[in-house]
C-alpha cells in the first residue's frame, strides 16, 4: 500500500458490518499465510452480506471492482479473525472509509498492512452510492466524489499513522528497534 492517491468505484455499506458478514465462519478453515488460501479468502469477501446488497465480487471473478468501501459506524465488529481484513485486501480493497471502526478489526488492518482504515468526518454512507467513482487522497485526507467534485474531509490516522507508514506491525517494530532487522 504505497499509493497515497487512488481513484476507484465505491461500495457503500451501513452500520455494524460484522466480521461474519465480511468473511463467514465456514471459510475460516483457510489459512491466510498460505498463498492459494489467501487468494481464496479474497474471493469470499463480504459474501455474508444480506442478499439486499449487490454482489461485491462479480460471478466467476476472484477480485472486486470496488477498490474503496464506504461504511457507517462500527465497521468490522465481532470476531478477531484476521481473515476479515485479509479477505478484503486479497479481494483488491485499498481502503475502508467509515464513520468508525470496531477496535480489533482496526488493529488487524494496521498490523497486517492490508489496506487503509480511514475515518470520515461526515457519515459518507448516506451521501455516496455504490458504483460511483471517488478519489481518495491520503496526502490531504480528502475524499472527492468525481461525479460532482464534492470534497469530504477525512480524519488523520493519529497514533496508528507511524505503524501504517512503516507497513505494518513487524516493519514498525524493526524500524523502532523493538525486534532485530531482517538479515
Amino acid at each position: 500500500m504505497n499509493e497515497r492517491i487512488v481513484e476507484s468505484r465505491v461500495y457503500v455499506l451501513e452500520d455494524n458490518i460484522d466480521t461474519d458478514q465480511i468473511i463467514p465462519a465456514c471459510y475460516l478453515n483457510l489459512v491466510p499465510t498460505i498463498e492459494a488460501e489467501y487468494a481464496k479468502l479474497g474471493s469470499y469477501a463480504l459474501c455474508g452480506l444480506p442478499e439486499t446488497y449487490p454482489p461485491f465480487i462479480a460471478e466467476n471473478q476472484t477480485k472486486t471492482e470496488y477498490g474503496i468501501i464506504v461504511a457507517g459506524r462500527n465497521f468490522g465488529c465481532g470476531s478477531s479473525r484476521e481473515h476479515a481484513p485479509i479477505a478484503l485486501g486479497a479481494a483488491g480493497v485499498l481502503a475502508v472509509v467509515a464513520e468508525s471502526f470496531a477496535r480489533i478489526f482496526f488493529r488487524n488492518v494496521i498490523a497486517t498492512g492490508e489496506l487503509f482504515p480511514i475515518m470520515s468526518e461526515k457519515r459518507l454512507c448516506d451521501l455516496l452510492t455504490t458504483g460511483e467513482t471517488v478519489r481518495l487522497d491520503l496526502e490531504r485526507y480528502e475524499l472527492t466524489s468525481l461525479g460532482d467534485d464534492t470534497v469530504f474531509s477525512l480524519k488523520n490516522l493519529g497514533a496508528a499513522a507511524p505503524v501504517i507508514a512503516a507497513g505494518g506491525l513487524f516493519a514498525y517494530a524493526r524500524q523502532t528497534g523493538m525486534i532485530p532487522a531482517h538479515k
Partner: protein, 436 residues
C-alpha cells in the same frame, strides 16, 4: 506512592506488565504477555506469521506461556480443518510445548475460553492475549485479557510483548440481589442494550458491586465474555476470595493480585439496581437488540441451542435442567457442553437425585454433542446444530449476527439458559419466571 495519580484495575495491570510507574488512557505502551492462547482456526495462521517473520528455526518466547486449545472445527469431515489441527500438532511437537490439548486424545478439552481457566492458565493480575475476540472472558478472574489477530499473535509468540493503547475504563456498578430467574446473561444483555454494540469501543468495562460479588465465577465469565459485544478491549472484575479459591484449586503457579486504586478516574459510570433487571433476549441481528422476554411471548421458535464459551458451562446446564426437569421440550433442543469437564458434570451433577443428562433425555432434548464451539459460529456445513434454513433459534451463545449460526435466513435470539429452557418447553419466547 501517593504522588502518582490513581489508576484503575486495567491501568494498573498494564503499567505493571509494561514496567512503567503510570499508565494513562491513550498511552501506547509495550506490554509483556503472561499467556498467549490460540486455537485451530487462528493458530495455523499465527504460526505462519511467526515462522515467516522470525524464521522456521525460531523458538517461541516462552514454552509455558503458549497455550493451544483446539475447539472450533473438531467434529467435522472438513479436510482443511483436519489439516489445521495437524499443523498445530507438528508445531507443538517441534517447539516441545507443554500446554496443548489434542483432539481425539484424553487431553482434549473443548472450548478454549472455558478450558483456559479450568486448566489453571488464568491468574489474577496477569496479561492474557488470545487469537479470539472472546478472550475478554478471562477478566472475570482479575486478569487483563484481550483478543488479537494472527499478526499481533505471531509477534507475541516471538517476543512476548505487544504494543497496546491503554483503554479508558467504563465502570459498571451493580448492587443488590437479582430476582429469581435472572442470570448473568440478563445483566450483560441489558448493559449492551443500554450502551450499544459500540458503546464501549476501545474501552475497558469494569464490573463491580454486591451483585457481582454474589455471582459464581462461571456467571462472572458470562458477563466478561460479552464485553466485546459492546466493542470493549477487555472486561474485568477485581479478584476476590472466590476468584482466588477458583484459581488456587487449579494452579500452583504464583501470581500477584492487583487491585485498582479507590477513586481512580474513569471515563464513565453506569449504575444498576439488581432488582430492576428482568429476563431478557437480544433479538436479531445485534446483541444490543434488548427486549424483556415478557414482551416477546408471541414469538414462536423452531430451535433452542445451549452451548458456547458464554452459555455452555456447567452453571448454564444446571440452570436449564432446573426448568426442564419434569417437562417436555416442544422444539429441537441442542446441547453442547463447552468442555470435557462440563460434559462429565452432566453425568455427575444431579437435581433431586437425577443426573442432568437424564433430565435432558427425559425432556426430549437431542443427545448432547461432544464439547466444541459447534454451531455458535456456524462452522463447516456438517457442524452439529448449524442452521440451514429460516429457523428461529433461542441460543445461549454471544452473537446473533446475520448468518452467524450458518444460514443467513435464520433468526437468533440470545438468552440466558433459563430463558432458553423455558422457551424450549413452550415453543415460543418464555419468561423463565413462569416456571420458578
Amino acid at each position: 506512592m501517593t504522588d502518582l495519580p490513581k489508576m484503575t484495575l486495567t491501568e494498573k495491570i498494564m503499567a505493571r506488565a509494561a514496567g512503567v510507574a503510570l499508565a494513562r488512557p491513550d498511552d501506547n505502551i509495550w506490554v509483556k504477555a503472561d499467556i498467549l492462547l490460540t486455537h485451530d482456526v487462528c493458530g495455523p495462521g499465527t504460526i505462519g506469521v511467526f515462522e515467516r517473520e522470525f524464521g522456521r528455526d525460531a523458538r517461541v518466547w516462552s514454552r509455558e506461556g503458549v497455550v493451544i486449545i483446539p475447539d472450533h472445527y473438531i467434529f467435522t469431515a472438513d479436510e482443511k480443518a483436519h489439516r489445521n489441527i495437524d499443523t498445530l500438532r507438528e508445531f507443538v511437537s517441534r517447539q516441545d510445548l507443554p500446554h496443548y490439548y489434542d483432539p481425539g486424545t484424553p487431553d482434549y478439552r473443548g472450548v478454549c475460553h472455558v478450558a483456559l481457566p479450568q486448566e489453571g492458565h488464568v491468574r489474577p493480575g496477569e496479561v492474557i492475549f488470545g487469537t479470539d475476540s472472546h478472550t475478554c472472558t478471562h477478566g472475570a478472574l482479575g486478569a487483563f485479557a484481550t483478543g488479537i489477530g494472527n499478526t499481533d499473535a505471531g509477534f507475541v509468540m516471538g517476543t512476548g510483548r505487544l504494543l497496546l493503547k491503554v483503554p479508558p475504563t467504563l465502570r459498571f456498578l451493580l448492587d443488590g440481589e437479582l430476582q429469581n430467574g435472572v442470570m448473568a446473561k440478563d445483566i450483560i444483555l441489558r448493559i449492551i442494550g443500554d450502551i450499544g454494540v459500540d458503546g464501549a469501543n476501545y474501552c475497558a468495562m469494569e464490573f463491580s458491586g454486591s451483585t457481582i460479588d454474589g455471582l459464581s465465577i462461571e456467571e462472572r465469565m458470562t458477563i466478561c465474555n460479552m464485553a466485546i459485544e459492546a466493542g470493549a478491549k477487555n472486561g474485568i472484575m477485581a479478584a476476590d476470595t472466590k476468584a482466588e479459591n477458583y484459581v488456587r484449586r487449579r494452579t500452583r503457579r504464583p501470581y500477584t493480585r492487583v487491585a485498582g486504586d479507590p477513586g481512580a478516574e474513569v471515563a464513565g459510570e453506569h449504575r444498576y439496581a439488581a432488582e430492576t433487571l428482568v429476563p431478557c433476549v437480544a433479538g436479531p441481528h445485534l446483541p444490543s437488540n434488548y427486549m424483556p422476554v415478557a414482551e416477546g411471548r408471541d414469538i414462536t421458535i423452531d430451535r433452542v441451542y445451549i452451548g458456547s464459551c458464554t452459555g455452555g458451562k456447567l452453571t448454564d446446564f444446571k440452570a436449564a435442567a432446573r426448568i426442564l426437569a419434569g417437562h417436555k421440550v416442544a422444539v429441537d433442543t441442542y446441547l453442547v457442553p463447552a468442555t470435557a469437564e462440563v460434559a462429565r458434570g452432566l453425568a455427575t451433577e444431579t437435581i433431586d437425585g437425577k443426573p442432568l443428562k437424564t433430565i435432558f433425555a427425559e425432556a426430549g432434548c437431542l443427545d448432547p454433542a461432544p464439547p466444541s464451539c459447534a454451531a455458535c459460529l456456524g462452522g463447516p456445513t456438517d457442524t452439529f446444530g448449524r442452521t440451514r434454513g429460516s429457523e428461529t433459534v433461542v441460543s445461549t451463545t454471544n452473537r446473533n449476527f446475520i448468518g452467524r449460526m450458518g444460514s443467513k435466513q435464520s433468526s437468533i435470539y440470545l438468552a440466558s439458559p433459563l430463558t432458553a429452557a423455558a422457551s424450549a418447553v413452550r415453543g415460543r419466547l418464555t419468561d423463565p419466571r413462569d416456571f420458578i
